[in-house]
């Protein structure tokens, strides 16, 4: 398969106005992914599926990720004059990053036998701007997985043919895979509790 920055360039050439960003990955797998702007996601998906070099005709997995509000510390080396001597000093800058939800697609090509290409869509925030574009019109197999992302993370996928809850029941009002979800308190009987469960079970013990 093409290198990921080449793919990013091809996407930019094919879909005018799209924002494509290569997401770095500093874990040992070093698997890079592409962040696609939501409003052009459908056009990008169509391009990835039909492009002769890529032909990514199979979406194997759709996943949700919940990113909470975070403070990101970046270290930069700055030259400073300390006591009349010029020294290289590390400076940490803190930037606040508001939380968002992410939908991640793993794409393969059955015909050319390559992949995965990982593309991501992000929502504006975790509360009211929770819309991304559904890619079910392009890859039919995304339908249930996107429903699952909607069910467990609360991402609304615009253009989905049948966006309903799939695992939890219809009246359920939470999104259980979000990091700030608190499960119902039925810890009254725990034979071997430990950690957080122990703390919650203790509230039920007779005083």
């Amino acid at each position: 398969m093409l290198a990921i920055d080449q793919i990013a360039r091809r996407i930019q050439d094919a879909v005018p106005g799209v924002r494509v960003e290569v997401i770095p990955n500093d874990t040992p797998s070093a698997q890079l992914s592409l962040l696609i702007s939501t409003e052009h996601a459908l056009a990008v998906a169509n391009f990835l599926k039909t492009d002769s070099e890529l032909q990514l005709d199979y979406a194997s997995s759709v996943t949700g990720v919940d990113w909470l509000d975070a403070v990101i510390k970046t270290k930069t080396k700055v030259k400073k004059v300390v006591d009349g001597v010029e020294k290289e000093v590390e400076e940490t800058t803190e930037t606040k990053r508001p939380g968002y939800l992410e939908v991640v697609y793993h794409l393969y090509s059955m015909r050319l036998k390559h992949g995965p290409l990982i593309i991501r869509q992000r929502t504006g925030n975790r509360s009211d701007q929770n819309h991304v574009t559904s890619l079910t019109p392009v890859w039919r197999g995304c339908e249930f997985q996107e429903r699952e992302v909607y069910d467990l993370y609360g991402v609304v996928l615009d253009g989905h043919p049948d966006l309903r809850r799939v695992l939890m029941w219809d009246g359920f009002k939470h999104y259980p895979m979000r990091k700030d979800y608190v499960p119902p308190d039925d810890f009254e009987y725990e034979p071997t509790p430990h950690g957080e469960v122990h703390a919650r079970a203790k509230e039920h013990y007779p005083q």
Binding site: H174, P176, P184, F187, P191, H204
Partner: protein
Amino acid sequence: MGMDERSAHVEMNTPGPDEGLRSELSKQGIFTVKLQDMYNWGRKNSIWPLQFGLACCAIEMIAASMARYDLARFGAEVFRPSPRQADLMIVAGTVTKKMAPQVVRLYNQMPEPKYVIAMGACAISGGPFKQGYNVLKGIDRYIPVDVHIPGCPPRPEALMHAFMTLQRKIDAQALTGENRPRHLDPAAPSEFPVPALGEDDIVPAKNERVWEAPVLIR
């Protein structure tokens, strides 16, 4: 049974003819037995289970009913697809909260006398999913369970052991008196409230009349 409470009491709870007389009668080809023993003997050897499975334990249940383990030896091979014809509910597998109302409703639709075997770690306590948000922490929170089988999943032998335990339990049931089975006690409930799917959890989280949290001594 077509007899009033008093005559049934006389018929079933008297000790019956003594050993010598029974032996003497059997030499003449006459066998005497108490009606209660006769009734329970028939019941315990024709327990028809309800045909449904919830998770991987169901595979072991199916294996138990097939030729190698052959549940038919215990008279329980007729798995009924309708609760109206079933005597036994084998709760074989994880009961998710979404599924719990349906399981209780099926139990309510079974005619008395009815029995429940909770099969496997999930059905008796929630198992490995106990501390999750979506799995019921034991079906005994809503319906009375007669036999619990631990295991993940229990082997077919364990299910057979549960069957034999249930048969012994049925055999020991006196048809009159304080400890008579539920279906002979007009005051005992035959149906149990079906929980509803609420906004956060199923409500109520347990049936207080059936289950209360065991007191752990620490």
